[in-house]
């Protein structure tokens, strides 16, 4: 982290990208995409998030241990969401056909 310092140009570029992405996400939200609206908004947010993590928080040049911690945090969040949704989404399914139940 304390090796040579990142140039202002890179930071400015990343900053510009973030502002551009914000504008696009607002613009995209005005279009009528139905279910894809959610997907677009989320992907843009994920891109912006990775940009901030990689460049502004300098995880790009950090030790592999830091990258592992960041990955672990997101993975555990994913565990919570996946298993929580696994209950809610599978509530409505029809009970399984009778042939299997003895």
């Amino acid at each position: 982290m304390t090796h040579q310092v990142v140039s202002v140009k890179t930071y400015a570029l990343v900053f510009a990208a973030l502002i551009a992405l914000t504008i696009t996400t607002v613009a995209v939200s005005k279009l009528e995409l139905g279910e894809y609206n959610f997907v677009c908004a989320l992907t843009i947010a994920v891109i912006k998030g990775t940009l901030v993590v990689m460049f502004f928080m300098d995880v790009r040049r950090s030790s592999s241990m830091t990258k592992l911690f960041v990955g672990a945090g997101l993975f555990w969040l994913a565990i919570m969401l996946v298993f929580l949704l696994s209950d809610y989404l599978s509530r409505g399914w029809l009970p399984i056909p009778k042939w299997w139940v003895g």
Partner: protein, 328 residues
């Protein structure tokens, strides 16, 4: 309960199977415990420290042994998992044939039980032997849990939705009903009795008294009162689906899913109509009844709607070995 036994009475078809699985788990558990206790004490005695200069021989470990005592226990656990899951699905998947539907409503510290014939009881449940009984469980305030140890069955009674499970009583007698989910001050007084009777005795009990008219009559009154009849029965402009022959049959929804119109579906469509819109009909026409109809009214409406549809055709494919056919 003269003789002391570690099993409560077996009074339902599934009780026997649950006890069999419990027996299997007990055997596995006891063998493992005895094995571990024996090893620990045998090693502790055989290899006790005799002098301070002892230098035990270095043993790093053995891969085959490690793999053996990881895979073998896991296989045994898979047997437990499969057997347990099959039994669970069997208890909670409603049997195909017509069941005696009894409506149980948990209210802080009492169980209100209503029969299709209109009888109502508090903390008392009467069921005949030899017939599948379906319990439709609702709660008016907090989470309770309708637990009958003799049938080895329990289910949480969550306010705001219907939970159902079924059993088939086999042994006449009087068994406990407990509330198993903590629900406040008198949680431990929220108990009752289930009386299992022979079918003949049950009929005489049934005809004993059914005050207040059957649920269906009361349901019809409400169906009128809330104006459902104008849309759902006599309507011709097709603004909303007719409710004749709807109950118990699959319904195709607007987003393509098919859902069986059971009690939960009817209840949800009354309280929050936009949750599931039938294909070909529009949103936001039916008013929201959330908070306007009490649990009592909902039950009566559902029983009335059920009476509008002819009973579901008996399942054609004869399911072999289904509990109800095996002569006890």
């Amino acid at each position: 309960m003269g003789s002391f036994s570690i099993f409560p009475e077996r009074a339902s078809t599934s009780a026997g199977e649950v006890d069999a699985l419990y027996g299997f788990l007990l055997i596995v558990g006891i063998t493992m415990t005895v094995l571990i206790f024996a090893c620990v004490f045998f090693f502790a005695i055989k290899y006790r420290r005799r002098s301070d200069q002892e230098r035990p021989q270095l043993i790093h470990g053995s891969l085959p042994l490690e793999i053996a005592w990881s895979v073998i226990p896991f296989l045994v656990m898979l047997v437990m998992f499969a057997w347990g899951t099959k039994l669970y699905f069997q208890n909670y998947t409603l049997p195909y044939k017509d069941t005696l539907d009894i409506y149980v409503t948990g209210k802080q510290w009492m169980w209100k039980i209503q029969y299709p014939g209109g009888q109502r009881e508090i903390n008392e449940l009467h069921v005949p032997t030899g017939r599948a009984v379906k319990l439709i469980l609702a709660s008016e305030d907090v989470i309770h849990s309708f637990f009958i140890p003799a049938f080895r069955l329990k289910h949480d009674v969550v306010p705001g939705s219907y939970q159902t499970y079924w059993f088939e009583a086999t042994k006449p007698g009087r068994y406990h009903i407990f509330c198993a989910e903590y629900c406040g001050t008198n949680h431990s007084r929220m108990t009752g009795w289930v009386t299992v009777m022979e079918p003949a005795a049950y009929q005489t009990w049934l005809s004993g008294g059914s005050e207040g008219g059957s649920l269906v009559a009361q349901g019809a009154k409400l169906f009128q009162q809330y104006g459902c009849v104008s849309c759902h029965l006599t309507d011709t402009q097709g603004r909303c689906p007719s409710l004749r022959n709807v109950f118990g049959n699959p319904v195709v929804l607007e987003d393509g899913r098919t859902v069986v119109a059971d009690e939960s579906y009817i209840r949800e469509s009354i309280l929050n109509p936009n949750a599931k819109i039938v294909k070909g009909y529009h949103r936001d026409i039916m008013p929201v009844f959330q908070g306007q109809i009490g649990e009592e009214g909902l039950l009566q409406l559902i029983v009335y709607i059920k009476s509008l549809s002819t009973p579901a055709p008996p399942q054609t494919a004869a399911t072999k070995g289904s509990p109800t056919q095996v002569p006890k």
